[in-house]
Structure formats: structure tokens, C-alpha cells
Symmetry: C2
Subunit: 191 residues, 2 copies
DNA sequence: CGGTGTTGCAGAATATTGTTCTAGTGCACC
DNA sequence: GGTGCACTAGAACAATATTCTGCAACACCG
């Protein structure tokens, strides 16, 4: 099974989707950038939407793997919370094309993606729960925990990726990390 | 100047963009839903992108007006911070079509939009600064303040609008409000 | 009045983009 | 030396977006 053509398209898609956005990328430009004929393209993909989905799966896989690596590196919950916030922002700045594609486009849906997410959230949840068990982190539903933890960083990245604000600096990133901790930690008190 | 045709298209766009997304809405469906001919359409708009921009300006105008109304209703900073968080979530739930269009599509750019944003942020900033002056709120750059304040709520809404999580409940909204306060307020201490 | 410009509408004609179809080539396997 | 399969190629076709030409209504002016 030769998936070379498929891969050439995905490389081109990463470039073009990240730079111009999905909507502004035509099939011809995708094909030409990948050096692939019409027939070859449709042999590997059912259409543009399939390219989006495949690339999304690939990119979010990379992101999630790096995320988990960062998470596992941290035994202390407070340090872990801040480290992951910083990781998120840095990953976006290190991978602007992938990040723009992942976080500023409408996410596709699909079984493969659902599987990835399930595994990912399972891992994060188990890290979280280990600390909840010792009272170091509050018992929160996954959604609330996620938005409090990474919502501000995510929104900041989105603004930057859309060119609406300047790149965040070290101090700003550190501040997001401290704030995330306060937002999460305090909740056990006043609920 | 009769802008009836223009308006019929915008009404249709609100419906279709909100339900199916911009990418999935064809020009013909827009025109047919608005009951407008090809010629009429292109008399009022230069293309689909222009419709997006015009509708975006209209919707964000409504949102910002309601936001400021809510903000001005609150003299106490702590209550104001929480009230605005709750407002944001409720506005999205009350206007799912507009919200989906505003917050899950790639934002357009343009001079009219820039003007709206400038006026809006100016107003918010003046409210913020009044409290900073009395030491009730920390001195933060607008971007950091914004993402800490509304980032989690925004991210939660996005997840809901994309159909990835269930609608937030009262308790969850209240929690976001309290967390936003902690995230913002604490920053003066440990910077 | 009649002429003239402007605004708005209509739909045919055209251009661009996306997808399907038919016809190969090379290559592994039998 | 066939037979099937993965892959490539590009013409043909379909869907969608945009331009163009013409027409009706109306305001304005001589």
C-alpha cells in the first residue's frame, strides 16, 4: 500500500490550510501544491472535507501526545497546571500552522477523532483524579475543569492566531498559569 | 435608498449561517431563502464574504450593546465580573444562531468592525479603570484581562455551540463567574 | 412634459471550482 | 503470462460563484 500521494496532499494541506484557511484553499491549489493529479487525489480522499478530517486527526494527535508528555512530567498539581498552560501557548507558537488549523477552524467530527479524544481525556482525567484523591485538586466535571484550566490560554492563542493581538510574552504566559491555578483550586471552598 | 433586498438576504443568512455554517451555505440557498434574484444579490453585495462581514457587524453590534448594558448595570466590580460572565453564556443560549456564527466561524476583518471593537473596548476599559483606581481591580493589559475574564465562558460556549457538550447549567455558570473573579483579582498579589 | 441619470431587479451567460468516469501503468501473486 | 489491485492521469461532467446585459421604476432637470 503506497500512501505517498496521500501524504503529499496532507503536507500541502498543512501548509495551505494553516496559511490561508480551509475556505480559501481550492482543490486545485491543494493538488498542485502536492504535485498530484485529480485522479490520484480522489483515489485517496473522498473530497476536501476528508482532507480536513485526516489532517485534523494527524495534528491533534501530535498536540495531544505532547500535552500528555508535559502532563506526565509533572507530579505536583500546581506546577502541572501552570506547565500545561505554558505548554499550550508555546505549542501554538511553535506550530502556528497546525495551531491555526486546529483552533481557528470549525472542528470536523468522525469516529477516528472521537476515539482519539476519548483516549486523551481518559489520560488527563486519571492524572486529575490522582490528585483529587489527595485533596490537592477539586472534584470538578471534566468540562468545567478544562475551560477553567485552558480557556484563557486557548482564547489568547486564538486571538494571536487570528492576528488580532501581538504574540504573548513570558510574563503573560506565567500569569495565565497562576490564574488557572487560582481559578481551579478555589472552587472547592465556595461551591 | 431601498435596502429591502439587502435585508432579506441578511435575514436568510442569519438563519442559514447559524444553522449550517458559512461553508455549507451556498449562494443559491441564500438567495432562495431570501427570495432574491442573482442580480439583486450582486447589486447589494460583492459576494458571499461581504454578506459574512455585514452580518458579523450586525450581530456583534447587538452582542456588544447588550454586554455594555449589563456591565453598566453593575457598580460593584466583583458582581460585575460574574454578571458579565453569566451574561455571555446566557446570550449565547438565547441567541444560538447569532452566537454560533459569531463565535465558531472565522471572524472577518474590515474597517467597520475595527471601529465597533474600538468603541466597545474603550467602554469596557473605562469601567475597568474606574475600579482599578480604587484598588478593587488589578492593573492588567486589556488582552490578559479579557481572556481571564471571559476565556473559560467563551470556550464553554464554543463547545456547546459545536455540539460537543451539553448546555451549561446554572451552577456551572455561577462557578465560572466565581472563578473569573479569583483569576483576575489575585493577580496583583503574586506578580 | 421629454430627456436623462440612478437605483433596484431579473435572469441568461460565463468562469471557477469540485467530482465522477474511463483508461491506463506498474507490480505482486499465482 | 495472466489476473487482480493500488495507484495515476486527465477528459468529461456537475455544482457553484460571478459577470453581464437589459429592463422597469422613479427622481430630477431643462
Amino acid at each position: 500500500m503506497n500512501e505517498l500521494g496521500r501524504d503529499k496532499v496532507l503536507r500541502a494541506a498543512l501548509e495551505l490550510f494553516g496559511r490561508d484557511g480551509v475556505a480559501a484553499t481550492t482543490l486545485s491549489s491543494l493538488r498542485q501544491a502536492g504535485g498530484v493529479s485529480v485522479g490520484s487525489f480522489y483515489h485517496h480522499f473522498a473530497g476536501k472535507e476528508q482532507v480536513v478530517e485526516a489532517l485534523f486527526v494527524e495534528c491533534i494527535g501530535l498536540y495531544q501526545a505532547a500535552f500528555l508528555e508535559e502532563l506526565r512530567r509533572n507530579d505536583d498539581p500546581r506546577a502541572g497546571v501552570a506547565a500545561v498552560v505554558a505548554f499550550h501557548v508555546r505549542w501554538c507558537m511553535d506550530n502556528p500552522g497546525r495551531a491555526r488549523f486546529l483552533f481557528t477552524e470549525r472542528p470536523p467530527s468522525g469516529p477516528e477523532l472521537a476515539g482519539l479524544n476519548k483516549a486523551f481525556f481518559g489520560e488527563v482525567l486519571s492524572w486529575w483524579r490522582a490528585h483529587v484523591h489527595h485533596g490537592a485538586l477539586p472534584e470538578l466535571d471534566l468540562v468545567s475543569a478544562y475551560v477553567l484550566w485552558l480557556g484563557p490560554a486557548q482564547e489568547l492563542c486564538r486571538l494571536w492566531l487570528n492576528g488580532e493581538v501581538a504574540a504573548p510574552g513570558d510574563e503573560q504566559i506565567a500569569r495565565l498559569g497562576r490564574a488557572a491555578w487560582r481559578a481551579l483550586e478555589g472552587d472547592s471552598d465556595d461551591r
